[in-house]
C-alpha cells in the first residue's frame, strides 16, 4: 500500500497544477496518470489562455464576458474568484518559463478569442496547450511530488462518508495497488470520447466522473456539452484553433463567399450558424486561413499546418479546409465549489472532470487552460489544507482484495462475446450520442438516446475481457473506459431530457427559448440504488 497526504488522479494541466500547489503547501503528494502527462489531452488546447492583462481590461470585464457566454446560469461567486485570480495565475506560468508571444514592448501579447470582448488570450503560437503542459510538468518535477504513470484508477475508497484513497492498476507491473490518502483530487479530464466524431484524445472517457458518481458524488450540468465550430470532420476530427478566426480566417462556401460572420460570436452560436449553413444546401462550409497571410501562418500556425496536412492532405496556406462542428469538451462534471470540494469530504475535483458553475451553460474560448491553472491550484491548496486537518484513517485491506476480485470477474472466455466487442459498443454509443444527444436535441431524440443506451448497456454486460494477464492489458482498460462512457451517456441524456429549454450549449428544437421561471438553475444527476436521479440546484448568489 502507498500512503500520501494528497493523491491526485490525472496528469493533465489541472492535475499537474494541483500537485505543485499541494506540494508547496507542505503535503506529501502522488500523481497518478494513465498516460504520461506530456501526452495528455490538455495539449490539444491551442489558441491561448485568458487573463485580464490589458490596460483597458479588468477582472470585472472578464467576468461580464464569462456571464454572457454562460447564458444566465453561471455561479457569480465562482466567476468572481476565477476572474480575480486569472491574472496572477497566468503571470505565475509566465514566470515559471512559459515562452508566450510578446508584443514590441516585451509584454505578453494577446489575442481575442471567440466572444471575448477584449484581447485577453496569452498564447504560444498555436502550441499553447502543448507548451503550457511542458512548463507545468517541469515545475511538477521541480516540486518533487511522486508520479505513477501507466496507472489506471479503478475505484475511490469511501469509508464512513469520507474519501480515504483509491485503488489503481499499474499497467507495467500488472498489479493493483491501494493508495491511502487524507485527500484525493480528481483531475481526470472530460468524456468527449462519448461522441463520434469528437475533437478529443482517446482517453477522455469520463473515468473520474464515473468513479465519483459511483462513490456517491453528484454530477452537475451534464447536458452542457460544448461543441467546437471549426473542426475538420472525420472519425478522429481535427479541431482548428479559433485563434485562426481571431487572426483573420474566414468561414466561406465553395465559391469563397463568406457564409458566417464570426466576429465576437460565442462558440455555441457559431456552431449553430455553421450547422445551419451546412443544412441550407450550399455545399461544404470551409475555413479559409489564407487571409491571415503566409508569413503569419508560417510563424503562428505551424502545428495547425502540420496536423491539417496529416489529416486532410491540405495546405492551409493554399486550400480552404472543410469544417463542421464536433463535440469538443464537456462543461458539466462532478459538482464542486470554487475550492474544488465535492459533496464527499476528502474528495476534490477540478478541471474538465469537474463542474463548479464558472461556465454556466457555455464556455468562453480561451478559458479551459486558465481554468486548469486557477482551479488546479485552488483544489491542490484546498486538498493540502484538508489533509492537514484530517485525522489519518485506516485503509481497509479488504478494499484491495474486493477490487482484485471485481476486475478478475471481468475477464472471461472470448467465445462469450459472440461477434460483439467493446470497440463496436463504443462506436455505436458515439454515433447514438452524436445523432440523438448532440448539438441539437429534442424529447424524442433524447428518449431514443436513453433507450439506445439501455440496449448498449445490455450488450456491454455480456462482454468479457479476453486477456487474462494484467500487464498492459488494454482490453481491460477499454472495458473500464467503456463502462465509464456508458455512465456518462446516461447522465448526459437524462440531464438533457430534464432541461426543457434551450440555453447555451443545450439546444432543444422542442423548447427553443430560455425558461427562466423553471430552468434558471443547475441540473444535478446522482445515483440512488443504482439508478440515475435528476434534480435541480439553485444558482449560487
Amino acid at each position: 500500500m502507498q500512503e500520501f497526504d494528497v493523491v491526485i488522479a490525472g496528469g493533465g494541466a489541472t492535475g499537474l497544477r494541483a500537485a505543485i500547489a499541494a506540494k508547496r503547501a507542505g503535503a506529501s503528494v502522488a500523481l497518478l496518470t494513465k498516460i504520461h502527462p506530456l501526452r495528455s489531452n490538455s495539449g490539444l488546447a491551442c489558441g491561448g489562455l485568458n487573463a485580464p492583462l490589458g490596460r483597458d481590461d479588468s477582472a470585472a470585464a472578464f467576468a461580464e464576458d464569462i456571464m454572457l457566454a454562460g447564458d444566465g446560469i453561471n455561479d457569480r461567486d465562482v466567476v468572481r474568484a476565477f476572474t480575480e485570480s486569472a491574472r496572477d495565475d497566468v503571470i505565475w506560468l509566465e514566470k515559471m518559463g512559459a515562452p508566450f508571444n510578446r508584443d514590441t514592448d516585451g509584454r505578453l501579447d494577446r489575442r481575442s478569442l471567440g466572444a471575448n470582448r477584449h484581447q485577453r488570450a496569452c498564447y504560444a503560437d498555436d502550441w499553447t496547450g502543448h507548451i503550457v503542459l511542458q512548463v507545468l510538468y517541469e515545475q511538477f518535477q521541480r516540486s518533487g511530488a511522486a508520479m505513477f504513470d501507466d496507472a489506471f484508477v479503478t475505484s475511490l475508497t469511501v469509508e464512513g462518508s469520507q474519501c480515504i484513497g483509491l485503488t489503481a492498476l499499474g499497467l507495467k507491473a500488472g498489479k493493483l495497488d491501494s493508495f491511502s490518502a487524507r485527500a484525493v483530487v480528481l483531475a481526470t479530464g472530460g468524456f468527449t470520447q462519448l461522441y463520434q466524431p469528437s475533437t478529443a484524445s482517446n482517453g477522455t472517457t469520463g473515468d473520474g466522473q464515473s468513479l465519483a458518481c459511483a462513490a456517491g458524488a453528484r454530477l452537475m450540468d451534464m447536458e452542457m456539452v460544448q461543441f467546437h465550430p471549426t473542426v475538420f470532420p472525420g472519425r478522429y476530427a481535427l479541431m482548428i484553433t479559433e485563434a485562426a478566426l481571431a487572426e483573420g480566417a474566414q468561414i466561406v462556401n465553395q465559391k469563397g463567399e463568406q457564409v458566417v460572420l464570426s466576429d465576437g460570436m460565442s462558440r455555441e452560436k457559431l456552431c449553430l450558424a455553421i450547422k445551419n449553413a451546412l443544412q441550407n444546401g450550399g455545399g461544404p462550409v470551409m475555413l479559409d486561413l489564407r487571409p491571415i497571410g503566409k508569413d503569419k501562418l508560417a510563424a503562428r500556425f505551424a502545428q495547425t499546418s502540420e496536423l491539417v496536412k496529416a489529416a486532410a492532405g491540405l495546405d492551409i496556406a493554399k486550400d480552404p479546409i472543410p469544417i463542421a462542428p464536433a463535440a469538443h469538451r464537456p462543461i458539466g462534471g462532478i459538482e464542486t465549489n470554487a475550492r474544488g470540494e465535492t459533496s464527499i469530504p476528502g474528495l476534490f475535483a477540478a478541471g474538465e472532470c469537474a463542474c463548479n458553475g464558472v461556465n454556466g451553460a457555455g464556455r468562453l474560448a480561451g478559458n479551459i487552460l486558465t481554468e486548469a491553472i486557477v482551479f488546479g491550484r485552488t483544489a491542490g491548496e484546498a486538498a493540502a489544507a484538508f489533509a492537514k486537518s484530517s485525522p489519518k484513517k485506516t485503509f481497509p485491506t479488504s478494499r484491495l482484495s474486493d477490487e482484485e476480485k471485481r476486475l478478475a470477474a471481468l475477464v472471461g472466455d472470448s467465445s462469450a462475446n459472440a461477434g460483439d466487442s467493446l470497440g463496436k459498443v463504443q462506436a455505436d454509443l458515439g454515433q447514438l450520442m452524436s445523432e440523438r444527444a448532440g448539438l441539437v436535441r429534442d424529447a424524442n431524440s433524447l428518449q431514443g438516446a436513453l433507450d439506445g443506451i439501455r440496449g448498449l448497456r445490455e450488450r456491454y454486460s455480456k462482454l468479457r475481457v479476453r486477456n487474462a494477464s494484467m500487464v498492459f492489458n488494454y482490453d481491460l482498460i477499454s472495458c473500464l473506459e467503456t463502462g465509464a462512457l456508458l455512465n456518462m451517456a446516461g447522465a448526459v441524456a437524462a440531464a438533457a431530457q430534464a432541461r426543457k429549454e434551450s440555453r447555451g450549449a443545450h439546444n432543444r428544437t422542442d423548447f427553443t427559448a430560455h425558461d427562466d421561471t423553471n430552468c434558471k438553475c443547475h441540473t444535478i444527476v446522482s445515483l440512488a440504488q443504482g439508478a440515475l436521479q435528476v434534480a435541480t440546484k439553485p444558482l449560487e448568489a
Binding site: 490539444l44 518559463g97 512548463v135 517541469e138
Partner: protein, 319 residues
C-alpha cells in the same frame, strides 16, 4: 480494403523471445495504422499491446515502425504502405527497449535522460509584480524548441545511442537547450555542468542525423553545437572532450596546425594527475616507434599567419 498486418510481439521480461503475429482485417480506404491495430485488438487478439493517446499527431505517444518507417501510427495511412503488397509489418521504434509488443520503454529511453539535466526552470524568486519583459525573438526560439513533442525520432536516428545506450541523446539535450537559452532561468552554469557530464553534451558526434530526423525542424545537432560554443563562452570546459576541442582550436590558431603532444596533455587536463599518468605508456610507445621526436618541439606551419587570420575572421563573424 483487406490488409494483413504482421505485428511484432514480445511478452514482458528480458528473456522473452520476440515473434510476429499475422492478422488480416478489413479497413476503410483512408484508415490509419492505428485503426488497423485497434481493430486487431478489438476483434482478433485482445492481448495485443500498443500505445494510443491523441489520435491526431499532437502527442507522439504512438510511435511505431510501419514497413520500416518510423511514424505516428495515428496519422499514418495504411494505404501509403500497401502500394506494393497488401501487407504491413509493424515494429517497435528502433533502439528502444520493449516492455510488451509495441509498448516501448520511454522511461529508460528518454524520460530518465531528460531528468539528468534538472529539467525545470529555476526562476528568480517571485517579488516583482507583473510579467517579465522579454524580447519576442528569444521567446520565439524557445517556442521552436518546445514544439518538440518527444516523438523520439532524433534519438532513434542518433548514431551514438546504438553503441552507448546511456548517452544522453539529442531529445534530452533539447530540453537543456530550452532552459539554457531562457533568460528567466537562474542555474545556467549548473545546467551546463549537468549536460556536459559523462555521456553528455560532448559525446555527440555531430553526424546531423538528429536534425535530419526531427519532424519539426528543431535542428537538434545545430543546437548542440551552439550549446558547446556557449559553454566555451562561459568558460565551462570540464569534460575532456571540451578541453580537446578547446586545445585543438587554440593550437591551430597559434601554429596553423595541430600540436598533438599538447593536445593530449590539455585534453586530459593539466591538474588531472590520473589522466596524465594514463598518457605515459602511450608516450613511451610513441617514442619506441619513433613517432615522438626528442626534443619535442612544435613548429609553426608555413602560412600560419593566414590560418590565424581565417580563424579570427570566423570568430568575429560568430561574435
Amino acid at each position: 480494403m483487406q490488409v494483413t498486418f504482421k505485428v511484432y510481439r514480445k511478452e514482458p521480461g528480458k528473456d522473452a523471445k520476440p515473434a510476429y503475429s499475422n492478422h488480416t482485417v478489413e479497413l476503410d480506404g483512408d484508415a490509419t495504422v492505428m485503426d488497423g491495430l485497434l481493430k486487431i485488438r478489438d476483434e482478433q487478439d485482445a492481448t495485443l499491446a500498443f500505445r494510443a493517446a491523441c489520435m491526431r499527431g499532437y502527442c507522439g505517444e504512438c510511435m511505431i515502425r510501419a514497413n520500416g518507417k518510423t511514424c505516428t501510427s495515428c496519422t499514418s495511412k495504411v494505404s501509403s504502405f500497401t502500394q506494393k503488397s497488401p501487407e504491413v509489418t509493424v515494429d517497435p521504434v528502433r533502439h528502444m527497449p520493449v516492455l510488451k509488443d509495441l509498448v516501448s520503454d520511454w522511461q529508460s529511453f528518454m524520460w530518465d535522460k531528460v531528468d539528468r539535466i534538472k529539467p525545470w526552470l529555476e526562476p528568480v524568486e517571485p517579488g516583482a509584480d507583473g510579467e517579465s519583459l522579454l524580447p519576442e525573438s528569444a521567446m520565439a526560439d524557445i517556442r521552436k524548441t518546445m514544439s518538440c513533442y518527444y516523438c523520439g525520432l532524433c534519438d532513434e536516428g542518433c548514431t551514438v545511442l546504438p553503441v552507448d545506450f546511456d548517452f544522453i541523446g539529442p531529445a534530452a539535450l533539447m530540453k537543456a537547450n530550452r532552459l539554457i537559452y531562457d533568460p528567466r532561468d537562474t542555474i545556467t552554469r549548473e545546467r551546463f555542468k549537468l549536460a556536459e557530464g559523462p555521456r553528455g553534451l560532448w559525446d555527440c558526434v555531430h553526424c546531423f542525423e538528429a536534425s535530419e530526423h526531427c519532424p519539426r525542424g528543431i535542428m537538434p545537432t545545430e543546437r548542440i553545437m551552439a550549446m558547446r560554443d556557449k559553454a566555451f563562452q562561459m568558460g565551462i570546459q570540464n569534460d575532456s572532450a571540451a578541453r580537446h576541442h578547446y586545445s585543438f582550436a587554440k593550437s591551430v590558431k597559434k601554429s596553423g596546425w595541430l600540436d598533438e603532444g599538447r593536445l593530449a596533455i590539455e585534453s586530459a587536463g593539466l591538474t588531472n594527475i590520473k589522466g596524465l599518468a594514463k598518457l605515459v605508456p602511450i608516450a613511451a610507445k610513441a617514442l619506441r616507434r619513433g613517432k615522438a621526436p626528442i626534443p619535442y618541439i612544435h613548429h609553426k606551419s608555413p602560412g600560419s599567419a593566414q590560418v590565424r587570420r581565417i580563424i579570427q575572421k570566423a570568430e568575429e563573424k560568430n561574435r
